[in-house]
C-alpha cells in the first residue's frame, strides 16, 4: 500500500495519513497496555513480598541507569529537532539529528547490556528471583522496543535519503518519531518504578 502514496492526490494522501495516524496511535495504546500488565505484575509481587529486593538479591544500580536515562531522553530531544529540521527543509541538519538519535539509542542499548552483565555477575538473573523476573522482563521488553525503534529510525533515514518523503508527505517519519517518543515515555514509567522507588 505504501507504493500508492506517490500516486494519490493530495486529498487522498491527507486522508490516508489521518487514518494511519489514528491506527498507529491505537497500536501504541495497546502496546502501553502490555507494559502496564507487566507493571501490574511487578507492583503486585513487590507489595506482597515481605522485603524488597528479596533477601540476598543485588538490585540494579540507580546511577548507571540514571546516566542511561539521560542518554535516552537526549535521543528524544534530538528526534524532536530532527523532525523540526525536516519540516523546515533543513535536510542536512535533519540528517545529523537523526544520526545523533540513532547513536544515542544504540548507546542506551549498550548501557543496558552493560547493566545486565553487571547484574548477572552479582547473580541477579532473570530466573533466580521475582526481582530478576520483574526487572529483566520489564527492561527487556522495553529494550526490545528500543531495538525495533533504532531499526525503524535507520529504515526511515534511508527512505528520506532516497527521497521517499516530501515536505507535505512524510507519514513514515511521523510514525517513527511517535514510536521513539513512546519508547521514551515508557522508560519514564519504568525508571521511576524500578529504580527510583526504593
Amino acid at each position: 500500500m505504501a507504493s500508492h502514496a506517490l500516486t494519490l492526490d493530495d486529498a487522498q494522501y491527507e486522508e490516508q495519513r489521518d487514518h494511519r495516524l489514528l491506527g498507529f496511535l491505537f497500536f501504541l495504546i495497546s502496546d502501553c497496555i502490555i507494559f502496564s500488565s507487566f507493571i501490574f505484575t511487578y507492583l503486585y509481587l513487590r507489595s506482597a513480598a515481605p522485603v524488597w529486593p528479596p533477601a540476598g538479591v543485588t538490585p540494579a544500580d540507580l546511577y548507571m541507569a540514571g546516566v542511561n536515562s539521560i542518554v535516552l531522553f537526549g535521543s528524544g530531544a534530538t528526534m524532536h529537532f530532527a523532525m523540526e529540521s525536516f519540516k523546515h527543509d533543513k535536510h542536512l541538519r535533519f540528517y545529523w539529528w537523526m544520526m545523533a538519535t540513532i547513536l544515542l539509542g544504540s548507546m542506551f542499548l549498550g548501557g543496558q547490556a552493560i547493566e545486565y552483565t553487571n547484574l548477572i555477575h552479582e547473580n541477579t538473573m532473570w530466573t533466580t528471583s521475582i526481582y530478576g523476573s520483574s526487572f529483566f522482563s520489564l527492561t527487556g521488553l522495553h529494550g526490545f522496543h528500543v531495538l525495533i525503534g533504532v531499526c525503524f529510525l535507520v529504515v526511515v533515514l534511508n527512505q528520506t535519503l532516497s527521497g521517499t518523503y516530501t515536505k507535505t508527505r512524510y507519514f513514515g517519519l511521523t510514525a517513527a518519531s511517535l514510536y521513539w517518543h513512546f519508547v521514551d515515555v515508557i522508560w519514564v514509567a519504568l525508571f521511576s518504578i524500578l529504580y527510583v522507588w526504593r
Binding site: 500500500m1 491506527g23 491505537f26 497500536f27 495497546s30 502496546d31 521475582i130
Partner: protein
Amino acid sequence: MAVVEVSHATSDHIHPPPETFVQKYVFSFDHKVIAVQYFITTGLFFVLAGLLAELMRAQLAGPNNHVLSVTMYNQAYSVHGSAMVWLVIIPVLTGAFGNLIMPLQIGARDVAFPWLNMFSFWLFPPAGILLFGSFLLGAPEAGWTEYPPISLQEPAGTSMWCAAIFLVGVSSTITGLNFLVTIIKMRAPGMTWTRMPLFVWATAVTAFLSFIATANLSAALLALFIERTFNVPYYDPSRGGSPVVWQHVFWFYSHPAVYIMVLPAFGIISEIIPTFARRPIFGYKAIAYSSTAIGLMSFMVWAHHMFTSGLAQWVQLPFMILTMAIAVPTGVKVFSWVATLWAGKIRLASPLLFVLGFLSTFTFGGITGIFLASVPADIHEHATYFVVAHLHYVLFGGSVFGIFAGLYYWWPKMTGRMLDEGLAKLHFWTMFISFNATFLPMHWIGLFGMPRRVATYDPVYGDTNLFISISAFVLGASMLIFAYNALRSARRGELAGPNPWGARTLEWMIPSPPPYYNFDRIPIVLAAPYDYGQPLPYREVAPEYLAAVPRF
C-alpha cells in the same frame, strides 16, 4: 462491469480489482471475501469444538463412565472452551460479521487497512492448528482459564496453547484498531454518530475493547510461556510469585472479552427487530449509549470471577457493586428491544425467530449473572455447574443465537440466495428446545453440589446428567439442519435480489452479493435508518434500491 465512479468528494479510492484466483479468494484485500474466509474457518472450529462437547457429554452421561479417560476429558473441556471463545465466537462476530457488514453499513468501500485485515485473518488458521495440535503433545487440562500453578506443570501442549491464543490475540487487536479507525474516519458523508446503524455502534465499542483488553491477555500468555519455558518466576508461589496475579491479568482481559462476544450479537438483534417489526428501534440513543457504558464498565468488574480466591473484603465490594450496576444498561437494552415489538407489523421470519430465542435465553442468562454478582451467593455458586449453566445461557443463548439470527438475516446479502424458511424454523425450534433442555437443569445440579471440570461425579446427579447429555446430542444434531439448508441454498436457493427483507440500512442498497467496490457512488446520509414508513434517507443511491419492500 459497471463503471466505478470514484468521487473525490471523500477521497474515494479503491484498490484495483483482483484478477488471479489467489488474489480473489486466498489473499484477498476485500473485506467481504475476508469475512467469508472467517465464516468458513470459524464454522469448522465450531464443529470441532462442538464435537468435543458431545464427547464430554457422552462421558458425563453416566456418573462413572469411561468413554474418555480422565486426562482426555480434561483436555476436551479445555480445548472446547478455548476454541469456542477464541476460534469461534470472537472471530465470527468481529472478523466475519464485522468485516462483512460494517463497511457496507457505513457506506465505505473497504476498511481502513485492508492489508492488515488480510493479515489478521491469516494469523487465525495457524492459531487453530496450534490449538488443536496441542493434543499431540498433551493438550492443556486446566480449562480455558489455565490457572497456574497447575498450568506450569502441564506438558508441552500447554505451551502450544499459549502460542495459539497469543496469535489470536494479535489478530483480534489488529482487527479492533482497524475497525475503530474505519468507523471513526470512513463513514459516508452525512452519517453522524447518531445516524449510524446500531450494529456499527456495537462493532465500534467491541473494536475498542478488542485492542485495549487483548493486550493484557498477550502479556499474561507471554509471561506464562516464559515461566514454563525459561523457568522465570511470576506465578510460582514457591519462588515468590503469585497465582493470583495471573487471575487478575487474565480476567482483566477475559471479562471485556465476554462483552466482545456479546456486544456484536446485541448489534445484530438491534438490526433485525426493526426490519421485521417494521418500525423504528425503540430507544436508539439509549441502546447506543448503553453499549458504550457496558463497554467502559466491562473493565471494572473483572474480579467477580475471583471472589473465592482470597481477595480482601474491601476489594470485593466495588466489584460486586459494579457487576450489579452493569446489569442496568443491559436491562435497558432488553426492554428497548421488546418495546420495539410493541405496535409493530411483525413478520415472523427466521431471523426474527432466532432473535426472540435470544431475548428469552439471554435474559435468563443475564439474571443468573446477577445471582453470581452477589458475593455471598457467588461463594456458594462459584465453579459449580451453576456457572456452566450461566455462561452457556449468555454465550450460547446469547451469542450463538445472535450469530444464527445474523446468518439467516444476511445470508441473502452475502450469497445472493435465500435459505429455506421451513428448514430454518425447524432448526430454530429444535435448537431452542434442546438448548434449554441441556442447560436449564445444570443450574439445579450446580446449586446442590456438582462441581465443574469433573469427569465423574456423585451418582445422585446421574439421571439429570443423562437427560442433559441426550438433550446435548439433539442440540448438536440441530446444527445439521442448518448445514443442509446452507448447502441446499447454494444449489437451488431462491434468488434473493438486493433487499428481500425490505430493510433500510445501506448494505441493502446494493446488489446481492455486492460487487468488489461495494457502491457505485458513495451515498449521502440524511437521517438514521430505522424510520419505517418514511422515504429512505439517502442520496446518490439508485432508485431501484430505494423501494425497500419486504417479500411478505
